[in-house]
Symmetry: D2
Subunit: 350 residues, 4 copies
């Protein structure tokens, strides 16, 4: 049975990725596109400054965009679930409005730290989906909100999950993040040519806090954050797509480099077991070259859904260090939402 | 009295910076330019693919390049000291040949870890110059070798020096290094467009080892390395000049952010006290903006001789984190050598 | 006698260049800074997102920005002349308001083609300044408007002027224009990374029309456009500053390449004869290398006020072809305005 | 019947494209890889610095590279035809050696202007293949040489072919060419960051001469060059793949813009009629947006085999101007060779 999908924030860069990735999807069909008043009433083709190299799907271009409110979306067509790619500043109340009726899978930051909202990475913490029942009861909603983490958090958390078995204690991460993470128009070209910007608003806080919730334990009523400390230093570099992260970890045990690589390589999660349509065969690909991963060469691994790890080596100051790369608008955004939705379908939640 | 200077490796990017920075220098005059056989016998103008935005000094262009051996240099003119910008793989024996007769101030890595060779940053460890006497006696040389550290090490070590008073214990640093650090032609454009390369050969080892020697204690006979541990993760980014480093430090004491900034700001060294010609007024400039330092805006601070630090903040996993930027071919290379030479002149060593 | 200067549009990229270039100017002193309502009332330091590598002059940062209307500017301090760096869409009526009282030297496009407004390049058509008297009489103004041409036009027109002696007939030019020409934030980084944008709104029309007026003959009452045809193809490339133009010209005569180079080299104009403070010694520098001019290496020639020409060669389809480069925000904008003002001072118009 | 293919110069950037494009090809199978002595004897995986974003085909990586001489290639396996991606400076005698025995389809410049060698673009001048018979007879070869034009020439010539019906007389073209056109390592990153290089060795001559041969008339014995004049100005810009060309043409007739677009759109050639495997459905795609074609968005049109034309407009100085974009290593190199080979198979020449 095909589920009908509405996309909120459909004209932005993440909204565009949703449309691209849902094109031809076996389970989901895009029926409603919602965006700001400026776009409402226009054909998507005319409302959207399409910024992907692949062409906009013909029939999507013909859809008339509606305003981002429940009434307009309801009037526009049948909807079984809602993907939200809204700006964080707007998402809060709008997503609640929609969640009263529909499952809302959100990329926005507004509800990520809500006590009863799962911050889901299907390979990492599928058991957090049990929070949805609590959420519905507490809030009296027919639908619900499930959140995807921040882009730079998702790839870090996936890489940390297999390290939990070694007693993960401390994480120090420096990110080199891609331009597309800032949306469009986003970073001005004059700011980034021949330059690095060592600051992304609220990004370090997100990495430091979200990761603990994702790796935390759900005890049936709430999530107990993972007992780890994280410190992040976030930078914007002149790269189109693909966040690169230099990660240093302290572990209780002292595994050697090969054991760590093996843990990365053998890692599989619910999406792989359930063979979800968007699940990469390998959630983590480990490369042996001295100079990989690199954004341009590795961001599309597993159709942009695999994390690529390289340069796993001893850390003289902590235990292990490595590089970790993920496609920020696929695995870090639209692809994450779609994989989450697929998991919910497979689990009968949607 | 003007000292006459020979430059070894004069046609490379660091050699060119030496020429640019020595143009009009009050104490030094370039008289001999040496390079590989391929260049020997040609006018510098014809031998050199000048890669700096400022024009090559007219009279330098007229100098005939000689081969990089003692005999050729001797024959080419009077020399009081030698700057070596040789490739690390060639520098070892050649610098020894020259040191038998001349003071050699070297940017090459060959002798950096030699027990009797100072690894000098004039603001940080001027007392290590006392090793020269030991070196001369042991090796029977009229001249000597003094070494400048690796570019990424210099700026890091300057930033760490004021933190020693707080009991520096652990340093984790991720670098985002400029293209000019790889020389010319260096990094292929196809490798770096829309990309980051998370690997620079031997760079992490240099950072981890050199820093301990620089910050170590000279007891009159040898250097006892500083009791700190360092871990580095080195990356090449699409920036022309200026290495940016994300630094996380663990300190024994627990100074607040303002105390740390104050320590950075008030830091002065021998070059400032001696008012050396190339000494920046402030070795460390602390910026308060949320998004500085940035390579393009901050690399030329203090004529490229100041280190610019920003975003000093608490580190949830260690003690303090900050960003640190330096001009890699000025403070990190040619400017470092010239400042070292100036210190030696001021101390009567040259 | 120092003239007091107001800058309209002071917070934009061209406004910033005016401030930078007027810092320490022997004849002009910035006293009033005007910008949009959003900035009015703030210190310039707080109102402006300073995007130049050199630091903002201390005392300028302390000036309180006023709104861009005559009353506010009048109230803010003494003013002898006004530089306008307003957006073209706003400049029309505002500049007229100011011109009733002050000399207005404008970078905006609004009045460029007005019959009684000089479109001035001091080296090229200083005699067009005689239009000012006509303008004042006709419009009943105490002040006046004098216009600088579009950035890409200025450098082209300077290069064409010496070719007039050979009977210039036809010009085909393809531009590769810098990011700073689009202002700030201007071109989105996602649009230009690994890309060229073959379109700049209205740029081709400006090149094709303005050039004819500039090179035209002023008969004492109006300008008769030069009898040439131009065709332009304008592109935006990933370069910070410096427009590069590939120019193909058809001449009535058939000068050889050396004669053309000689005409470029010997070209001097009123600013050189009058030794105006901002006049470059050579308005046109001819380079002989096979691969120059290049934006990064040549844009700062003559402090950004010289045009650099290279690769002068036979054109198999027309007569001669060459490359021409100019600094678009110096010679093409703020520097152009300042040189114009200097010429007016020297001629007693201001 | 599958033809077995040897690739000369297999480790370079064009060689890599051949391998990528021939992977899974219905008619051709790569059996022999030849490269310089430095690579000979190594597995391709070890000999090649693979610079494409897609992964190297597994089985190709296992092939042992042989030296680029007939004997070594003969010994390495069965070969039905040879693709040459040799450097122009080496290709001359080597290709002749191979042509004595095999069909050689060459990307190298050595034989392009030979009187009896077709300079083939399958859509443009398939009748030039008749030169092969003459060549074989004259040279006494079992095989032959057929040449692909220079990358920037191919896309220009395809765009000019439909304009021949309007009486093409004069062409002025300025190119903005991609980095991959210079091979690997090719352009140094320090040369192109924040820069344009207005010179590519011999490129303008190739454009000006090759185009006339391609569009020329084969009279059964030799090619009479097309009676047109061309003038080119060639530049290297900071783009990975995709050459962009600003083209100005003078036509005898005076078609309006829509007629010209229609001529572009309806253009089809032999590959389309024969439905060759690599033939794009539309050799020329015309875009209506004001700002297309752009390299990053349009280079992969028709799997990199379509030319994308945009901004067709009146030329005030000639007749018509437009922009033209092609993928330089697909349509401009490896894809061109493969399409040529497919045409020869369809025509029974191979």
């Amino acid at each position: 049975m095909t589920r009908k999908v509405a996309i909120l924030g459909a004209t932005g860069t993440v909204g565009q990725r949703f449309i691209q990735l849902l094109n031809g999807h076996p389970w989901f069909e895009v029926t409603v596109l919602a965006a700001s008043e400026r776009s409402a009433g226009k054909k998507y083709r005319d409302a959207c400054n399409w910024r992907l190299e692949s062409e906009m799907p013909e029939e999507i271009g013909e859809i008339t965009v509606v305003n981002t409110d429940l009434k307009s979306v309801d009037a526009a067509g049948d909807v079984d679930l809602v993907f939200s790619a809204l700006p964080g500043s707007l998402a809060g109340p709008i997503e609640e409005e929609f969640a009263a009726k529909y499952p809302v899978i959100s990329k926005a930051s507004a509800h990520r730290l809500d006590e009863d909202v799962p911050l889901l990475i299907p390979e990492v913490n599928p058991e957090h989906l049990d929070m949805i029942q609590i959420q519905r009861e507490r809030r009296g909603w027919e639908g619900f909100i499930s959140n995807d983490p921040n882009c730079s958090t998702i790839q870090l958390a996936i890489s940390l999950k297999p390290l939990m078995e070694f007693g993960l204690r401390r994480v120090i991460v420096t990110t080199m993040q891609a331009l597309s993470g800032a949306g469009y128009p986003g970073v001005a070209s004059l700011d980034i040519i021949d330059n690095v910007i060592p600051y992304i608003s609220k990004e370090e806080e997100k990495l430091e806090v979200e990761t603990k919730k994702i790796l935390g334990t759900f005890d049936g009523s709430k999530v107990k954050p993972a007992p780890i400390v994280l410190s992040a230093s976030c930078n914007r570099v002149n790269v189109k797509d693909g966040h690169l992260e230099a990660v240093h970890v302290e572990l209780e045990e002292n595994p050697d480099v090969e054991e760590v690589k093996e843990a990365f390589r053998k890692f599989r999660g619910a999406p792989q077991k359930l063979k979800l349509p968007s699940a990469p065969e390998e959630p983590i690909i480990v490369r042996e070259e001295v100079d990989r991963p690199q954004p341009r060469y590795d961001r599309d691994a597993g159709n942009g859904m695999s994390i690529v790890i390289g340069r796993v080596r001893r850390d003289p100051a902590l235990t292990i260090k490595y590089l970790c790369l993920g496609h920020n608008t696929i695995r870090g955004a639209a692809g994450a939402g779609i994989l989450s939705a697929e998991l919910m379908v497979a689990k009968g939640i949607i």
